[in-house]
């Protein structure tokens, strides 16, 4: 039998991450991507993840995208749930390769909103919601991670 109180707490943390992610996105609507940005003056991807997660988990420290990925407090999981992190590996992008563009692209990180969407700060849009079926992003290798305190 499932521990109802633990499940409630888990859902509460996850719901809070998603709510803060959406509220922050609305707060910075109209602002472009800002390299190195960690505040509502403008965000890059790791800065946005830090801002949202730090709002929910005050002990969450800032790490850049690659540093975040090697954070021991994050564990890989096969199936994403709302509030988990989605990492896109650096390297060639299949969508671009199929069109003759073989350049390498940097790593990227975002927050899973639901089964269909994730959110982060992209160079093209600033903080924006993206579907997992987006032609450009959907073609990239991705891995999901769960923060250890999401379940507490």
């Amino acid at each position: 039998m499932a521990d109802v109180s633990a499940t409630d707490a888990q859902e509460s943390k996850r719901a809070k991450i998603v709510r803060v992610a959406r509220e922050t996105a609305r707060e910075v609507a109209g602002k472009p991507y800002l390299f190195g940005g960690k505040t509502t003056a403008g965000f890059d991807c790791s800065g946005y993840v830090y801002y949202v997660y730090h709002s929910v988990f005050p002990e969450f420290i800032y790490l850049d995208t690659e540093g975040l990925r090697s954070n021991v407090c994050l564990k890989v999981k096969a199936d994403a749930q709302p509030g988990d992190l989605v990492f896109f590996s650096p390297g060639k992008v299949p969508y671009e390769v199929s069109k003759g563009n073989n350049r390498d692209f940097p790593a990227h990180v975002g927050i899973v909103l639901d089964a269909l969407n994730w959110i982060s700060s992209q160079t093209s849009t600033g903080v924006a919601q993206v579907t997992f079926s987006n032609p450009w992003w959907g073609s990239r290798d991705k891995t999901f991670y769960e923060y250890k305190l999401v379940g507490e």
């Binding site: 996105a25 910075v28 602002k31 992008v93 671009e96 003759g100 093209s124």
Partner: protein
């Protein structure tokens, strides 16, 4: 391979021709926020560090509507499209704005205009498309990977 090389060279030439035509067409006309809505067609691609990229998105149709947006390049917006974060700005100020990597072609077009409409189309209050309107008939859509899609208005 020779065939691939010719394809890439042709793609680049097509992109350059489209861009040249685009620069010529971008002059004149004023546009307001209401004029932003309508049917737009990808007519060219500008980018940096993408030599040989095939402009296969040319011909794609985007529908910027009042109640929804159809955008096969990104994913549709079905909830509350917003156009209020697009503003008239000085081209000079815009080009000097930090943090935006403007492809040379876009710089050339923008320099021909004193003012342009620049900003974000939103979806449910969140950024959705970063756009630049040069005239009622020509615009640029900033896409991932440093790509900029040149848009031409379709129909009236």
């Amino acid at each position: 391979m020779g065939g691939t090389g010719i394809l890439h060279r042709d793609a680049l030439i097509i992109a350059m021709v489209v861009l040249a035509a685009f620069i010529g067409c971008a002059e004149g006309g004023t546009i307001n926020i209401v004029g932003v809505q309508g049917t737009w067609e990808v007519s060219g691609i500008a980018c940096t560090d993408c030599e040989g990229r095939k402009p296969v998105e040319v011909g794609t149709i985007l529908e910027l509507g009042e109640a929804s947006i159809r955008n096969p390049l990104y994913g549709d917006c079905k909830a509350r499209p917003g156009y209020s974060l697009i503003n008239q700005v000085s081209s000079k100020d815009l080009l000097s704005k930090s943090g935006i990597a403007w492809p040379v072609g876009i710089q050339q077009i923008s320099k021909k205009q004193t003012t342009v409409l620049y900003g974000f189309v939103t979806c449910d209050g969140i950024n959705y498309m970063q756009v630049l309107f040069f005239s009622p008939h020509n615009a640029a859509y900033f896409y991932e990977g440093g790509l900029v899609f040149l848009l031409s208005r379709r129909g009236k």
